[in-house]
Symmetry: C2
Subunit: 192 residues, 2 copies
DNA sequence: TCGCGTACATAACAAGTGTTCGGTACTATA
DNA sequence: TATAGTACCGAACACTTGTTATGTACGCGA
């Protein structure tokens, strides 16, 4: 049982190509051949590492999640956690574009649908303790922290979508301002 | 110059087929043949009314906008306007699914990108006077009404996406509650 | 009645799709 | 050194895609 090539490393090469394709053309442009071409190889190569297109797509979503996780600092405070999800850098923009693009196929395919649902659940779960902390700090109003986490996730992702379609209007500065303004509008302390 | 068939009426038939395809499979499933099959006709029929697939897609988006407009009552108050955008009925869910699904192709195609950007702009513009009214009524905090309109649109659409992926959790009742809770959390009057 | 233009159907085309298959190079083990 | 298994390449298969071309039925104006 030889292992002439580092399988995992080579697989990461393919992953990188997948990501490049995705970042440029979204899921609509993700094909075996586009990945192969991006990699300078054959479709057989791609199929050697991903047995079917469905697996390729699933892997692409895992990739997006992985990159998202890497982008988000180990949950410090709420503001930081939400800021990390905004398209403030080219890389973050890329990741968000891929996410939004994935929703077409994710809404159609039952398995991907379930995965995306679980992903959202995880995000809200990760947000919840930060919400509770903000509440005890008096930065957020009382009320069900789960509901608040949902609302903040909604606000953030909704803002992401608008920003992706209108990056000129929604500059990083403006996005950060909008998030801050929103948080302080929610804050029971801040009022005039 | 004969007009043996009511052109506009027949075109609406094709439109209806387009919508059915879209509602079931999203933009990924929108093909000349799927529309033709849904209609019980040939691809030639479809092309007779829409010269290319690109035009078909553009028409599909217009369709979605039309249905959205029909769903939203002539802007009364802010709460009603935002509620109308939520997937509270099967029809509203269908429309929202189509919108979210469209983002994949809309992010890729420059023309569709511009159209979607304009659509968001229109929505915020329509929301703005309602925001101002709510502010004068003391239901919303002071601050740039444009920013607030953006934030509320963001919250709403972000909630839509979560609801589409988890309709069991986000029942119509829960969605309405989340919107109301969010509005009252923003209200300067409500605080404890 | 003649023709012209509409409204399609049918078929074909070229390109692109996921997937399969045979072959080859190469390497670690026996 | 033989062999088995990995890691591919290149071509092909069967199908779907948007689009084009050909043909035809049919109603209106001349």
């Amino acid at each position: 049982m030889p292992a002439k090539v580092d399988h995992e490393a080579r697989r990461r090469d393919v992953s990188a190509a997948v990501w490049r394709v995705l970042a440029e053309g979204g899921f609509g442009a993700l094909t075996m051949r586009s990945v192969a071409a991006e990699l300078g190889g054959s479709t057989g190569l791609v199929m050697h590492y991903f047995a079917s297109k469905h697996e390729l797509i699933k892997h692409a979503l895992e990739l997006a999640e992985e990159r998202t996780r890497a982008l988000i600092p180990a949950a410090t405070d709420l503001r930081t956690a939400l800021t990390a999800a905004l398209p403030l850098t080219p890389e973050a923009t890329e990741i968000n574009r891929v996410w939004v693009s994935s929703w077409d196929v994710a809404l159609t395919d039952p398995e991907l649908h379930a995965l995306e649902k679980a992903r959202y659940r995880r995000w809200r779960t990760r947000l919840r303790p930060l919400v509770i902390r903000a509440q005890t700090d008096g930065d957020l109003p009382h009320g069900d922290p789960t509901d608040l986490a949902t609302a903040l996730a909604a606000f953030t992702h909704g803002l992401v979508v608008q920003a992706l379609f209108d990056p000129t209007t929604y500059t990083p500065k403006r996005l950060q301002h909008l998030l801050d303004a929103h948080l302080s509008a929610l804050s029971p302390a801040t009022r005039r």
